[in-house]
Symmetry: C2
Subunit: 282 residues, 2 copies
């Protein structure tokens, strides 16, 4: 591993760069970002050593870390530019559309579809940190469509970064992520909206907010530039997840309206099972 190129120098692309450099101090990292300021910051912070629009022909891995709706065109363009020994990976939160879009490209075997389950509510190169990816899950899709030799380069990098690999097809990925990630973000945003609307009447309301509120609404700080495309790219699964969530909220609303304590208690007790499942992941 001698050279990588990162397009999109935000939280995720930046953290990838910092983590890769820590493991491979000699690594040359070039890259670019649509924002001039992000490029400057990425140089200052040491995410990249040189701003470059197009990856060199001898680049080992090109990492695409831009918003979900820009990845398709960028991937096709990048595959057209790269050398014979270059692998392209993306870090997008949605996979089905992207995998479909690239399926008939003559260099399809140069691409590996990736999604690291890592992030914070902050964005931009200044939010990046080398430990963000440490021991996180990395989902890989359509592994069989990537060239065996090129795949090795990705595995070497992922191993060095302590990523835990999981494999699934793009549709399964998008269906699952709608529930365990995208829905959480929408819920958090809408919770924030509901309270902001209430605050229009009651200025002091936040004084009473405890750690529980802060925890459920934290994701409402997330970047609209990142999350707007995720919602539309994974539309069908997100609509299904939202429908389930709204139905459950309407059901508990009805139970509260009817003072049906027994039904509420039994519902909450059943949901408490999530405790074991969440703790399993630790």
């Amino acid at each position: 591993m001698k050279k990588i190129h990162i397009i999109g120098l935000g939280l995720l692309g930046g953290s990838f760069g910092l983590a890769a450099r820590r493991k491979f101090p000699e690594l040359k990292i070039t890259g670019s970002d649509i924002s001039e300021q992000n490029q400057k910051d990425a140089l200052t912070i040491g995410i990249i050593t040189e701003v470059k629009e197009t990856p060199d022909q001898d680049t080992d891995i090109v990492i695409l870390a831009t918003p979900a709706d820009t990845l398709g065109d960028l991937l096709l363009k990048t595959l057209d530019q790269i050398g014979q020994e270059t692998l392209v990976i993306d870090l997008g939160s949605t996979k089905s559309k992207l995998c479909l879009q690239v399926s008939s490209h003559p260099k399809r075997a140069h691409f590996l579809a990736c999604h690291p389950i890592a992030g914070t509510e902050y964005s931009g190169p200044k939010a990046a940190f080398a430990d963000l990816l440490d021991r996180k899950v990395m989902i890989l899709c359509e592994l069989e469509k990537t060239d065996l030799h090129l795949k090795e380069k990705a595995f070497n990098l992922f191993d060095a970064l302590n990523l835990k690999l999981r494999f699934m097809d793009p549709e399964e990925h998008d269906r699952h992520l709608a529930f365990v990630s995208h829905l959480s973000h929408i819920s958090s945003f809408m919770l924030g909206k509901t309270v902001l609307q209430k605050m229009a009447d009651d200025k002091n309301i936040f004084d009473m907010a405890g750690s529980g509120f802060a925890s459920t609404v934290r994701l409402a700080k997330s970047s609209p530039a990142m999350w707007t495309p995720i919602l539309t790219e994974n539309k069908d699964n997100i609509l299904a997840a939202l429908d389930g969530f709204i139905a459950n909220l309407s059901e508990i609303r009805a139970k509260v309206a009817e003072n049906d304590s027994a039904a509420i208690h039994s519902d909450l007790t059943e949901i408490n099972k999530i405790r074991d499942i969440l703790d399993l992941g630790k």
Copy 2:
């Protein structure tokens, strides 16, 4: 301050006891719990020094820390039992019904309605810890109805525990808390339910859950015994909060269905303002 009595030796009552003893090592703390096991644990942990059903006549402060729907009857009974120099406080999450219920009791002036904004998703005496209340907000309602001399005892204790006092009427309290606490818990429970339902088909779904999911669903581990009564005690405000939340979810659902990226982006950007407000509280 020589003697306090705690009824309900769970997370909150237990943490009050531990914090009070840390500040006043000579303090005698008696108490009781509906659960024998909790009483034993509270003795072992050192929350109380003696199990006692009824507070001694020379008790300075009786702390009621049982579920919201049990506080009314317990408060009336306790006021009937106490000595002339005893103050009774409650730590309940809802205030309107309780204040109304106690309003015509001959010993109304012996009561101070309190709500500390502190908690975790765990419950029982073993979950209690002395720092839980440190520098947290303590809301006091109908302060003018409590005897001046008895109030001093509470202020001394609250000062020693570093509680930050806020004053408001019971209706305002319940209206605000529905939005900044109760709604967060319901949202978290229903998010957990939605994902558990999905998991019935897809066993591996939690493998893909990141820190964002864990953060929004953490409160779904909370105690049904505590939360069921809160939902019914604060019914009207909770229905209003839920209606606002469901309406916002339905609106964003419509925007996703229409691929209206501009509207979604502008919505999320507006909600990002919660960033400044949340950070203000730090």
